[in-house]
Symmetry: C3
Subunit: 129 residues, 3 copies
Amino acid sequence: MPLVRIDLGSSTDPATSSTVCDVVYDAMTSTAKVPAHDKFMVVTKHDVGDLVFPREGYLGIKYTPGIVLIQVTWNVGRGTDVKKAFYRKVADDIHAKTGIRKEDVWINLVEVSPENWSFGSGEMQYAPK
Amino acid sequence: MPLVRIDLGSSTDPATSSTVCDVVYDAMTSTAKVPAHDKFMVVTKHDVGDLVFPREGYLGIKYTPGIVLIQVTWNVGRGTDVKKAFYRKVADDIHAKTGIRKEDVWINLVEVSPENWSFGSGEMQYAPK
Amino acid sequence: MPLVRIDLGSSTDPATSSTVCDVVYDAMTSTAKVPAHDKFMVVTKHDVGDLVFPREGYLGIKYTPGIVLIQVTWNVGRGTDVKKAFYRKVADDIHAKTGIRKEDVWINLVEVSPENWSFGSGEMQYAPK
């Protein structure tokens, strides 16, 4: 169900971006009840200047060109505590497994209804019963 | 009104991606009352590894690197039956016209309000009256 | 808070796309109460054919390959007047500062809740109190 868009710098090596994907998937399944194998992601790499962040930082956080912007579209219904746990795990594990600074892990959630997905074959797999 | 993002593999030839765009537009207008000429789309092609899908499949559907991820942002108000018809037509027609497997046609909808669009010239064309 | 996605043609020079980013940021802060330094944007450039717009125009507006598609994800709560002022300022200032036609400035807004952001370090900075 989630569609995850990951935008990062063009100098990121493939192993690192692959690890970021794995970490986000693991965090979704372990903290937010996303089903197993529900791993659909789009990674886009950007030249310097096309990945824009505030040089002054924001809310006391400083960023570097190593920033990773993660936008997750998933079903509505997850509460504040679940979202907090998700943010925490994504940042901690990306840092632990890739060395990317926790400050550079940036996340946004977009919420939709279960009817808003077709996982292939032209079907609405989460249709209301 | 809809903004359609289409993400697919970098080996996709331009004729195929163009046909995918045409099919999605045709399905929007014929099944979901999207107005004629309301065709705004962004196609992004990705190297292997940057278009992530579950190797094990999901919900019984198996995917290949030919997967096409389609995210449509459009106005709220379309019902379940309309969405079902849209999914069906997109998958059927993409398969019929490009040979892409129906299983590889993956769709997500994001819903917004009519005020959330400017179609150019700095105006809110769908402003409330 | 806002995540701004800007999609434009591959022939756009870096100075122009950078100015577009600056204009959108300035319009967000001056018309829509987006906080200072809250500037997170992703620019993606597309070959002809991957940036799709209606050749016939839409709602009386004609487009060129110089079209700029701007999608802003930000917090819910901004009213119609604020959105109108935002559209107006973005189109006017992009035109004034880059020469891009106002008709080619296309904007979509996606609205989410304040809990849906982590600005780094694994924290929910806009958590409810």
